[in-house]
C-alpha cells in the first residue's frame, strides 16, 4: 500500500491519480499507523510552508514522518518540507534532508513563480540515482513554485532558473521532487515508476 499523507491541503488528488495510471492504489491518510505500515509514503503539498508545517504538527505527523524507514517521496512543497528551514514564514521544517529553502527574486526575464517546463540534470556523483533510471539528461518536467531548495549535499538533480536549485533530492529513504511528476508527462511517470520500484 502507498500512503499519501493528507494533512488538510488541497490539490493532492492528482498524485493519487498518477499512481493509479502506474497501476498502483494509494490511500490518502493522516493516520499514523496507516502511514507507518505503508510500503511507500508520498508527502504532497502546495501552498505555504508555514501552513503546511502547522498542519503536520496539528496531526502529530512531524515525528511520525521523521521516523519512517520505507521510501518517502516529497512532491513540490512536500519536498521542501523535508529540508531544514524555509525563509517562507521563517519556518523550521522536518530536517531529514540537508539544506534550506528561499524565494526566487523576480528579474526582467525571470517571472516568479517559476511556472512551466524546465530541464533537470543529474548531479555528477559517480553513480546515477535510481529515481533517474531511464530519465534522459536534460528532460523537461513541470514546475510551479516561488520558493526553492538551495543546492546541497542531498541534491540529486538540479534545474536552472537564473540560478541552479534542487530539482530532486535524496538521502537514504527520504527523497523529493520540486516539480510535479504527476503532471510531467511521460518523464514524470517514469520517475514515479522508479520510486515505486525502489
Amino acid at each position: 500500500m502507498i500512503a499519501i499523507i493528507d494533512s488538510g491541503g488541497a490539490n493532492i488528488a492528482s498524485v493519487k491519480f498518477a499512481l493509479e495510471r502506474c497501476g498502483e492504489t494509494a490511500q490518502l491518510t493522516a493516520d499514523h499507523a496507516e502511514i507507518q505500515s505503508a510500503d511507500r509514503v508520498i508527502l504532497p503539498g502546495v501552498g505555504m510552508a508555514a501552513t503546511a508545517m502547522r498542519q503536520l504538527h496539528q496531526h502529530g505527523l512531524v515525528d511520525c514522518i521523521r521516523g519512517l524507514s520505507q521510501p518517502v517521496l516529497g512532491v513540490c512543497l512536500g519536498m521542501q518540507l523535508l529540508f531544514e528551514h524555509s525563509s517562507e514564514g521563517d519556518t523550521e521544517m522536518l530536517g531529514v534532508l540537508a539544506g534550506n529553502c528561499r524565494h526566487f527574486i523576480a528579474t526582467p526575464g525571470r517571472s516568479v513563480p517559476h511556472m512551466g517546463w524546465n530541464r533537470i540534470r543529474a548531479i555528477d556523483s559517480g553513480e546515477r540515482h535510481p529515481l533517474l533510471a531511464d530519465v534522459a539528461e536534460g528532460a523537461h518536467v513541470y514546475f510551479v513554485h516561488s520558493y526553492f531548495a538551495e543546492l546541497s549535499g542531498d541534491t540529486i538533480a538540479s534545474c536552472d532558473y537564473g540560478e541552479s536549485f534542487t530539482a530532486i533530492a535524496g538521502n537514504g529513504n527520504f527523497m523529493g521532487c520540486q516539480f510535479h511528476p504527476e503532471r510531467s508527462g511521460p518523464v514524470g511517470e517514469q520517475i514515479l515508476r522508479n520510486f515505486l520500484a525502489l
Binding site: A10, F17, E20, V46, A106, G185
Partner: protein, 260 residues
C-alpha cells in the same frame, strides 16, 4: 532554461467543447476527455478549460469532468469559469485541477484573489483578464478590462485599466495572468504584441497571451518580440490547422526553447 509554454484552451459549455468568434456564435467541436487526451499525447504543455457560460449566468455548473480529466491526463490543467467562492475553488482543486482561474468575480471583489492565494497558495491562482483596445480621450490607445464576457448580451466594460488591473491582481497574490486581447480574439491576425508587452513589463508574474493566433509565425513573434511566458490558442489547434508537434519543431528551429 524554462520553456515557452504552448497552451490549448478548451471553451466548455454544458460539458462539451465549443468555440466562437469574438465570444459569439459558439459551435460544438468535441468531447472534453477525447480532446484533452489528444492534446496531452501531442505534447501540449498545458490545458485551460474555460466554462464560458458560468460567470455570466451566476449558476453552479456541473464540473464532474474535472475529476475525469485529472484521472486521465498527465499534464497540468487549469479550470476557469464560475469560481465565486473558496469552496468552489476547493472542489475543483480537490478534484485534481492544478490551477483555478478567476475573472469577473475578481473584478467584483479583488480581495477574492488574496483569499484564494492565502488558502491554496499563489501558484494555483490565475487571473484571467479580458481586455479591449479603445481610443482614449487624447486619441492614443487605452486598454480597458471587460467583464461577463462569457455572454455577449451581458458583457460590459469595467472601469478598470488593463495595466493597473494586472498590477493589482499581482499585489493581491495572483500567480499568473492570462491576458485575452478581445480585439484579436478569433480573427487569426496574430497576438496583440504591443498590449502584451505593456502588461508583461508591468508585472513580474508569468503572463500568458490569448487571442489572435492564426499561424506558426504568430507564436514565433510572440516569443521573440515579447517576454511573454506562454501562448494560448483554441481554434487553430482544434481544427488541426496548427498541429502542436509541428509548431514546436518550428519554434525550436527559431531558437525558441520549447519542450519537445
Amino acid at each position: 532554461m524554462l520553456t515557452k509554454r504552448i497552451i490549448a484552451c478548451l471553451d466548455v459549455r454544458d460539458g462539451r467543447v465549443v468555440k466562437g468568434v469574438q465570444f459569439r456564435n459558439h459551435r460544438d467541436i468535441g468531447d472534453i476527455l477525447e480532446l484533452a487526451q489528444r492534446y496531452a499525447d501531442e505534447g501540449v504543455d498545458e490545458l485551460v478549460f474555460y466554462d464560458i457560460t458560468a460567470s455570466s449566468d451566476g449558476r453552479v455548473v456541473d464540473k464532474s469532468w474535472v475529476n475525469q480529466v485529472a484521472r486521465r491526463i498527465n499534464i497540468p490543467f487549469c479550470v476557469a469559469g464560475g469560481i465565486r467562492s473558496i469552496e468552489d475553488a476547493r472542489m475543483i482543486l480537490n478534484d485534481g485541477a492544478d490551477k483555478i482561474s478567476v475573472n469577473s468575480p475578481a473584478l467584483e471583489n479583488p480581495n477574492f484573489i488574496s483569499e484564494l492565494a492565502a488558502v491554496f497558495g499563489t501558484q494555483c491562482v490565475v487571473v484571467g483578464i479580458d481586455s479591449r483596445e479603445e481610443v482614449g480621450d487624447d486619441g492614443t490607445p487605452v486598454y480597458r478590462v471587460y467583464q461577463y464576457t462569457g455572454d455577449a448580451a451581458k458583457t460590459i466594460a469595467s472601469k478598470r485599466d488593463t495595466i493597473s488591473w494586472a498590477q493589482e491582481a499581482e499585489q493581491h497574490g495572483a500567480g499568473e495572468i492570462v491576458l485575452n486581447c478581445m480585439n484579436n480574439d478569433g480573427v487569426k491576425r496574430g497576438y496583440d504584441l504591443a498590449q502584451l508587452a505593456l502588461v508583461r513589463d508591468a508585472v513580474s508574474l508569468p503572463v500568458i497571451a490569448s487571442g489572435g493566433a492564426g499561424d506558426y509565425s504568430h507564436f514565433a513573434d510572440l516569443f521573440s518580440k515579447t517576454g511573454i511566458d506562454g501562448g494560448l490558442a483554441a481554434s487553430v489547434f482544434h481544427s488541426g490547422q496548427i498541429p502542436i508537434p509541428e509548431l514546436k519543431k518550428y519554434l525550436a528551429t527559431r531558437q525558441i526553447e520549447v519542450r519537445i
